[in-house]
């Protein structure tokens, strides 16, 4: 790989990292997992003047479930650390289901959850998952920390609302309103391919009634598709075949797919509808079995 010439710094604290970003006035890039940034530099689509490598900031390397069920994922938590992770699987089934479908095993050992959300790729798995879960990002800049709700963080294709001198240090997923269930399905032509369509579903159940429902889509629009409004039709109701069918149709309607070599817009909508149905039906069957 022969990228353009760039400077490199490896700070030991977030404060130092923020100072470096501030000093380079928008010409610096944060390197965490590097699984999107480095390929772009290799192709010379990106040519940052300065790389601020945060991998030496050990404080950012964690994921934890707090007593109340809130989940915190630090900026250096790799995708693979969310795979086969019993605590995460219990707290957020959607993340556990999506983790093994992120890119390929090589990418998952390096790439980070928070980095992927920041990258805001319309086909990214974590931006969709965070959207369904209604989480927020903690950004740290020269003036300290602020929380940015995910809906205000990922605002378009490859666009987030971090200031040039801010670092996303943590992703936070709120505690469930009951028993949290969920799943993630993705159609890809091959492991590591961008999704033809992905569906993230998360449901909080109180007894057999839905207390929270979040659905978001990847690959079916120029941005991460927030289908939470369509999903909210389930709140206060039971999961039934009828409710499932109507939500699946409503979610498919808010997708914004385009026809390309992965398939026609109609085909992608069909996949979204099928996946929403399959996930919700699966959750229904599991809950019936448990009962």
């Amino acid at each position: 790989m022969y990228p353009s010439r760039f400077g490199y710094e490896s700070p030991k604290t977030v404060e130092e990292a923020v100072a470096l970003l501030d000093a380079h006035g928008g010409e610096a890039k944060v390197l965490a997992g590097g699984q999107s940034l480095v390929p772009m530099m290799r192709l010379r689509f990106a040519a940052p003047e300065m790389i601020v490598d945060i991998n030496g900031i050990e404080d950012l390397h964690y994921n934890r479930v707090e007593a109340d069920g809130t989940v915190r994922i630090g900026a250096l938590c790799r995708h693979e650390e969310l795979e086969d992770n019993p605590a995460i699987a219990k707290a957020i089934p959607t993340i556990a289901a999506a983790a093994p479908l992120v890119a390929d095993p090589i990418v998952r050992t390096r790439g980070t959850f928070v980095g992927s959300v920041c990258h805001a790729d319309p086909q990214g798995d974590w931006a969709a998952t965070m959207t369904a879960l209604g989480g927020h990002i903690v950004a740290q800049g020269p003036k300290g920390k602020r929380d940015i709700p995910i809906a205000e963080f990922v605002i378009g294709p490859f666009q987030n609302t971090l200031a040039f001198n801010e670092i996303a240090v943590e992703a936070v997923i709120p505690a469930p309103k009951g028993v949290r269930v969920g799943n993630y399905l993705k159609l890809e032509r091959r492991v590591g391919d961008f999704a033809t369509a992905s569906v993230a579903v998360t449901i909080d159940m109180q007894g057999d009634t839905v207390a929270y429902a979040g659905i978001a889509l990847a690959g079916v629009g120029g941005r991460t598709i927030n289908a939470n409004e369509a999903a909210s039709a389930l709140v206060g109701k039971k999961l039934t075949a009828e409710n499932i069918a109507s939500v699946a149709a409503a979610v498919a309607a808010v997708a914004e797919p385009r026809t390309d070599h992965r398939g026609s817009a109609d085909y992608k909508r069909q996949i979204v509808k099928t996946f929403v149905e399959r996930i919700l039906t699966g959750l229904l069957n599991t809950s019936q079995k448990a009962a």
């Binding site: 022969y2 353009s4 010439r5 192709l43 010379r44 390929d104 159609l187 032509r189 091959r190 492991v191 590591g192 391919d193 961008f194 033809t196 070599h261 992965r262 398939g263 026609s264 085909y267 069909q270 996949i271 099928t274």
Partner: protein, 793 residues
């Protein structure tokens, strides 16, 4: 006592590959591993557009960058008569563009600098002004009257047609159609694919002004042809050119042609008088180098209602890109397309082929295809599938009726090939049993009742491997023989060199096994070398599954020459006449007293220390082998799939491959070849293709767009073996390297089409991506990868 052949690593021994020891330890020696003192680095600037006139090239800003030593443009090449070079198909190809660029990725300028980073920076600093021209991205646009003439550099090239060619007996074929009860039709596109070897192309040219010698380390499957070509193009004397192909990281036909980068690096070294290294990047490899397929095929089959094939009409329209650079036997314009239907007792056939220039990368005969046999057999097996359905006959039964029977050999095919051996029916039987064919109809019906779509696809074929014989096969006049040179040292160890060129086939391992078989020298005692034109005998290289049929035969023949000399030495040592000597593996003995004998090692020592009076010392020889015929392996492949009706996703439930490639030198290596080929067949069928948008942008210029299956998607394979020795090959072997790539894709497509057959679907063009399959199963219509233009009559 004779040696145990398996113990010494002879024929039939699944000996571990010698070369893997260094490859898996990271100790291979690829072109990019070679570092020469004072070496400079070259980077190519490629055209971002598919068709344009070059108005100006300004290289001044490139020279402003420290470390830039030389910038070459087409104009500078032209001044040395090197702007254009001949291709392997009697056409010409631009080295660096002068007048126009004719495909996206074409070489426009080259920067030679102190390191590759600087060279890349400097390429970005070159300013080229393009005036865009209309772009032609398929042969149907190319054939339209009034369309832009791509090759206006050529005289006598009024349009975009490259060739118009036919073969077969038209009158006999017309007669067969007149007598037919049923006529079945098939029309499809075999999309363009790229071999994408793990290692890209590259070279290090090292011209030494003091000695006048040019050494080029390069990624070539055919280094000896390159030496001849460089001698002719660069006007350097052939004895002052040394081409060295070190370890190759895959080839698959991608490394047969001679690419502009090689030629430019040579000129750069001559001008700078230091070694110049060029290593292509992945995108450069994918968008500019030899591709495979991109052929539209159409045909119809005349049938009797009892299932007998009567005749076949075929037409191909092929897309050759901007330069006709196909690496193939020169006599045949569309490779060995006319090998189609060679496995079937087909009385009459006719093929018409037309090739066109387009604004796409040149090439056409790469990717493990045995000179377009891939397309021929794919079409054949899709046609056979459709014909069986049109007759309402079972797929296996229809094949059984029409496959050539064991007692019909030698069999002259409708297109004139002579097949010589095989047990086609036996292979079919083994495959049917292994896939569970007798219960599958019931299984399919049961699955359909649950909304599941189940299908089995069959592909049976024989293909011509091992070009050639010198009567029929040459490339630019050079006959397609091959060679081996064997030198047995005094301690009985040996070095073998051949004119072939290993690129993953395992020659280092298998050639030594042939020597072990012929001479009883343990395979571990034989060094194998290839690829250095100063030391290896002249040969045509490795592609089209020709190594074992041709160079492998030469290895056996040279070993037999050595054995003949050793026999005379043995007679001398045993003090008997040569007529009284018998041979068993590794040992000569006196016929009347088996206990009295000498080993091949004894003879080797004597060749240097105690030779008979009047005998030339030493124990070495060479052999050039001109095969009497091609070899004809047979393959019967079965694939079972299940299609998800809601998404179009299809899962492979089972793959059964029955291969008869004659005598297997190393069964493990053969199985590896078959598994690799089946993986590529699955790839073609499911995801791997290169396409272009209307502006001629290559969709497939990186591995996010050009999909190669991983171990995750690739199904498992169940392999079976039948052995019908080749009657003319010295050890009875047939080619096998490409059988699975050739016969495999149709088995996958036939399976998916079978699963959807009850819905009225006859064809889904590859790759059968889920969206295509979904469209087929919801509409009941065929899915074509063709542009919205018909092929006409």
């Amino acid at each position: 006592m004779a040696l145990d052949e398996i113990k010494i690593g002879g024929l039939g021994a699944s000996r571990r590959r010698v070369e893997d020891n260094r490859f898996i330890r990271g100790k291979g020696n690829y072109v990019d591993d070679i570092v020469l003192p004072g070496m400079l680095h070259m980077e190519l600037l490629r055209s971002p557009v598919a068709h344009a006139r070059i108005k100006s090239i300004d290289v001044s800003k490139a020279y402003d960058i420290p470390g830039v030593r030389l910038v070459l443009t087409g104009e500078m090449m032209a001044a040395r008569n090197l702007a254009w070079m001949p291709t392997l198909s009697y056409d010409t190809q631009a080295v660096l563009a002068t007048d126009k660029v004719r495909f996206q990725g074409q070489e426009v300028a080259a920067v030679i600098a102190d390191d590759p980073y600087i060279a890349k920076d400097a390429c970005q600093a070159i300013v080229v002004e393009y005036e865009q021209l209309p772009v032609i991205v398929n042969p149907f646009q190319a054939m339209e009257s009034g369309s832009e003439v791509i090759r206006d550099d050529k005289e006598n090239q009024p349009g975009n047609k490259v060739f118009d060619w036919e073969i077969g007996d038209k009158a006999a074929t017309d007669k067969a159609f007149a007598e037919a009860d049923v006529i079945s039709k098939m029309e499809l596109h075999y999309p363009r694919s790229h071999p994408s070897p793990m290692e890209t192309c590259g070279s290090i040219a090292d011209f030494n002004r003091a000695t006048g010698k040019l050494t080029v380390y390069m990624t070539s499957q055919a280094p000896h042809i390159v030496r001849a070509a460089v001698a002719m193009v660069a006007e350097l004397p052939e004895h002052m050119i040394r081409i060295v192909s070190p370890d190759l990281g895959g080839g698959f036909g991608n490394k047969v042609p001679i690419y502009p980068g090689y030629v430019i690096s040579i000129l750069a070294s001559i001008l700078t008088e230091v070694p110049v290294k060029w290593i292509e990047d992945k995108t450069g490899n994918l968008i500019s180098t030899g591709f495979g397929r991109d052929v539209y095929l159409q045909g119809e089959m005349a049938l009797r209602k009892d299932g007998k094939m009567l005749g076949m009409r075929m037409k191909t329209i092929s897309d050759h890109g901007a330069f006709y650079a196909d690496a193939q036997p020169s006599k045949f314009k569309i490779g060995l397309m006319h090998s189609a239907f060679a496995a079937y007792d087909l009385p009459a056939a006719h093929l018409e082929s037309v090739g066109y220039y387009t604004n796409k990368a040149p090439g056409g005969v790469a990717y493990r295809c045995s000179f377009r046999v891939t397309e021929a057999m794919f079409f054949q097996e899709r046609m056979v599938h459709a014909a069986a359905n049109d007759l309402g006959m079972d797929q296996a039964e229809f094949r059984r009726i029409n496959l050539v029977k064991d007692d019909m050999f030698p069999y002259r095919t409708a297109f004139g090939f002579l097949t010589d051996s095989g047990q086609y029916g036996k292979c079919l039987d083994i495959g049917m049993k292994a896939i569970g064919y007798d219960t599958y109809k019931a299984e399919q019906a049961e699955a359909r009742s649950r909304g599941k779509l189940l299908g089995i696809g069959i592909s049976t074929m024989t293909e011509p491997l091992g070009a050639g014989n010198s009567r029929e096969y040459d490339i630019l006049g050079i006959k397609m023989f091959d060679s081996a040179e064997l030198r047995v040292h005094m301690t009985g160890k040996a070095i073998l060199r051949t004119g072939a060129m290993n690129q993953g086939q395992g020659h280092q391992t298998t050639w030594a096994q042939i020597v072990a078989h012929e001479l009883g020298i343990p395979a571990d005692d034989v060094t194998v070398e290839e690829g250095d034109t100063d030391t290896a005998p002249f040969g045509m290289g490795t592609y089209a599954s020709r190594s074992t049929p041709v160079a492998g035969a030469a290895v056996a023949m040279v070993a037999r020459k050595i054995r003949a000399k050793a026999r005379k030495i043995a007679a001398h040592l045993l003090e008997v006449s040569e007529e009284d000597i018998e041979w068993e593996l590794g040992r000569f003995y006196v016929r009347s007293n088996k206990e009295r004998g000498v080993t091949i090692q004894d003879c080797a020592l004597a060749a240097y220390s105690n030779m008979p009076d009047g005998m030339e010392p030493g124990l070495e020889n060479n052999a050039y082998y001109d095969p009497p015929n091609l070899t004809w392996p047979f393959a019967a492949y079965f694939v079972k799939v299940e299609v998800d009706a809601e998404t179009g996703v299809w899962d492979v439930l089972k793959v059964v491959a029955v291969d008869d490639c004659g005598v297997r030198i190393n069964p493990m290596v053969v199985e590896g070849q078959i598994m690799g080929g089946l993986t590529e067949a699955y790839a073609m069928a499911s995801m791997q293709y290169q396409t272009y948008d209307d502006e001629g942008n290559c969709i497939g210029s990186n591995y996010m767009d050009y999909l190669l299956p991983t171990a995750w998607e690739t199904p498992g394979f169940e392999l079976h073996e039948v052995v019908t020795p080749c009657p003319h090959h010295p050890i009875g072997a047939k080619g096998v390297g490409e059988c699975a790539t050739v016969a495999g894709p149709a088995a996958f497509v036939n399976a998916v089409v079978d699963a959807l057959g009850h819905l009225g679907v006859r064809n889904i063009d590859m790759p059968m991506m889920p969206n295509r399959v979904y469209e087929a199963l919801t509409t009941g219509k065929d899915i074509s990868g063709m542009p919205p233009v018909k092929m006409g009559d």
